[in-house]
């Protein structure tokens, strides 16, 4: 159970010559639930995008399931949950149609959907509590429900690894709870999770390890750090924007 799922060694990523990740080494083993924390602009989203090959790394290496990223083809083992649903050109799509896209990694382009595909989509919709909204256009859903749709899309592919980019940002409390429940079930069945978060909220008990990214480097790797200052207050509602001139706290020591 300790085989590495994700290995990043001395990863460097830059946009137009400006380095975003300077020297990142990170290993995630099977069964772990790793949260990547950090302020806006720290490079935490870039890190998972580099892991998935969505942004190229300029130095170092990324390995997924013991295969170099460049030669990795078993994408059905990975479920990706982006930050938000693209608006698209306004053509309506139902919740079920979006979630059904999650089966393509397993099924391929040419094979039409079969019974296994339909039951996996049903199960994923139930897991996030959206079974009763399956026929509704996604554009009529709240932000939190749209986020749950994206999680269902990733779950529908029955992945071994879930990679989530800020799954709880701007999501209502009910959706956060539904999401935490879906994640718990996924982990209980042996799944591995890598997620980027601004704050953990109801996810905190599920997280087994936290990695703090600060200015393109890993500043902390281990237990989930306690929130500092006003972040620690139980009713702290995380609505203010993080910025570089933030007072000294967890992310700026």
């Amino acid at each position: 159970m300790t085989s590495p799922v994700i290995t990043v060694e001395h990863g460097v990523v830059g946009y137009d010559g400006r380095p975003v990740l300077r020297d990142i080494s990170l290993t995630v083993t099977a069964g772990e639930v790793v949260a990547i924390l950090g302020a806006n602009g720290s490079g935490k989203s870039t890190l998972i995008r580099a892991v998935l090959g969505l942004v190229p790394i300029s130095a170092g290496s990324v390995t997924l399931f013991d295969r170099p990223l460049r030669r990795f083809r078993q994408w059905a083992r990975i479920g990706y949950v982006p930050q938000r649903l693209g608006a698209g050109g306004g053509v309506p799509a139902t919740v079920r149609e979006v979630v059904a896209s999650g089966r393509l990694a397993r099924r391929g382009v040419l094979r039409p959907p079969g019974r296994a595909d339909r039951s996996a989509v049903d199960a994923a919709l139930r897991a996030v509590g959206l079974a009763d909204r399956a026929g509704d256009p996604v554009s009529t859903l709240s932000g939190g429900q749209q986020q749950r749709t994206l999680i269902a899309r990733a779950l529908a592919g029955q992945p071994e690894l879930l990679v989530l980019d800020e799954p709880t940002a701007g999501v209502d409390a009910a959706s956060q709870e539904a999401f935490a429940g879906a994640l718990r079930d996924f982990v209980a069945e042996g799944g591995t999770v890598l997620l980027v978060a601004h704050e953990l909220g109801p996810l905190r008990p599920v997280i087994s390890r936290a990695v703090v990214v600060h200015e393109g480097r890993i500043a902390h790797d281990g237990a989930v750090p306690d929130p500092a200052g006003h972040h620690a207050e139980p009713d702290h509602d995380h609505v203010h924007p993080h910025c570089y001139d933030e007072p000294a706290g967890l992310w700026s020591n």
């Binding site: 149609e97 382009v109 409390a173």
Partner: protein, 288 residues
């Protein structure tokens, strides 16, 4: 109706129906990826192909398919790069295409009537060989767009997710680009280079006002395209109007009818059904 006894009118009707069915089936993907006007751009490039064909005494449609395909692939490469200067590159391609077409047609022995046939369509001059080309290519577009709908939907809806799903994103994008080029060139005979986008986009815009899902939008758009093509040709035959323009105006009239009817229906429903209080999300903070 007697007009439809003539073979050339029958060919015009069949050609229009095939294009009316195939154009929205492709157009829905273009609308979804915010490329509603790409058909226009590819059409401009196709015109250079028409000019080259007329000048070289080759089949203008065949050369136009080649030119349009090259143009569509060039546009796709610019789009995939995602550079901010992309729209300028597209503008260069569009206007270069139409200027090249006008220039080459002028150099050839063709008359301005020939140019007009491609700019605004010339359904009634479709030959049996043309009809075969339209039928075969139109059927190929239809089958591809319907059979690959899940993958094409995924790649048009969320390209990054499609990449992480391991889909052949580049191939699918090129497939859409080539399909656009082929559709533009066969539709060129029906509605003309300047009106092609209308047949790809307007039925989709009409359908999505009343549909809830992607599949239902696609089916409704194809039905609307078929209706616009059929009734447009009928209007043209009975009122002796330009067929291409008639088809497009019927499509736009359907859009307006659906838009107005939809607005009226929403108002009526709001008045007649008792307004159930919307169930709010639970509060996240306690306000004192």
């Amino acid at each position: 109706m007697e007009l439809f006894q003539y073979p050339y009118m029958q060919r015009a009707l069949i050609g229009a129906l095939v294009i009316g069915l195939a154009a929205p089936a492709l157009g829905i993907y273009l609308v979804q990826r915010r490329l509603a006007l790409i058909g226009d751009g590819v059409g401009h490039v196709a015109l250079t192909g028409v000019g080259a064909g007329l000048l070289l005494n080759r089949s203008p449609v065949l050369v136009a398919v080649i030119a349009a395909t090259i143009g569509a692939i060039a546009i796709e490469i610019v789009r995939a790069r995602g550079r901010t200067s992309g729209d300028l590159a597209l503008a260069l391609l569009f206007y270069g295409g139409i200027a090249g077409g006008v220039l080459l047609v002028g150099l050839s022995d063709a008359t301005s009537a020939n140019l007009n046939a491609y700019l605004f369509g010339s359904l009634t001059t479709i030959s049996p060989a043309d009809l075969t080309t339209i039928g075969v290519l139109g059927a190929a577009i239809l089958v591809t767009m319907i059979a690959l709908r899940p993958a094409l939907f995924a790649v048009s809806h969320d390209e990054e997710y499609a990449r992480v799903s391991g889909l052949p994103v580049r191939t699918l994008n090129l497939l859409i680009a080539v399909a656009t080029a082929v559709t533009v060139t066969i539709a060129m005979r029906a509605v003309g280079v300047l009106l092609i986008s209308a047949l790809m986009v307007v039925p989709v815009a009409t359908a999505q006002q009343v549909t809830r899902g992607f599949r239902s939008t696609m089916a409704a758009a194809m039905a609307l395209g078929l209706f616009a093509a059929g009734s447009g040709v009928w209007v043209a035959a009975t009122a002796d109007t330009a067929p291409g323009a008639s088809v497009v105006l019927v499509a736009i009239a359907s859009f307006l009818v659906v838009a107005v009817a939809g607005a009226v229906w929403r108002v009526v429903r709001r008045r007649t059904t008792p307004t159930a209080a919307p169930t709010p999300e639970p509060h996240e903070v306690v306000l004192s």
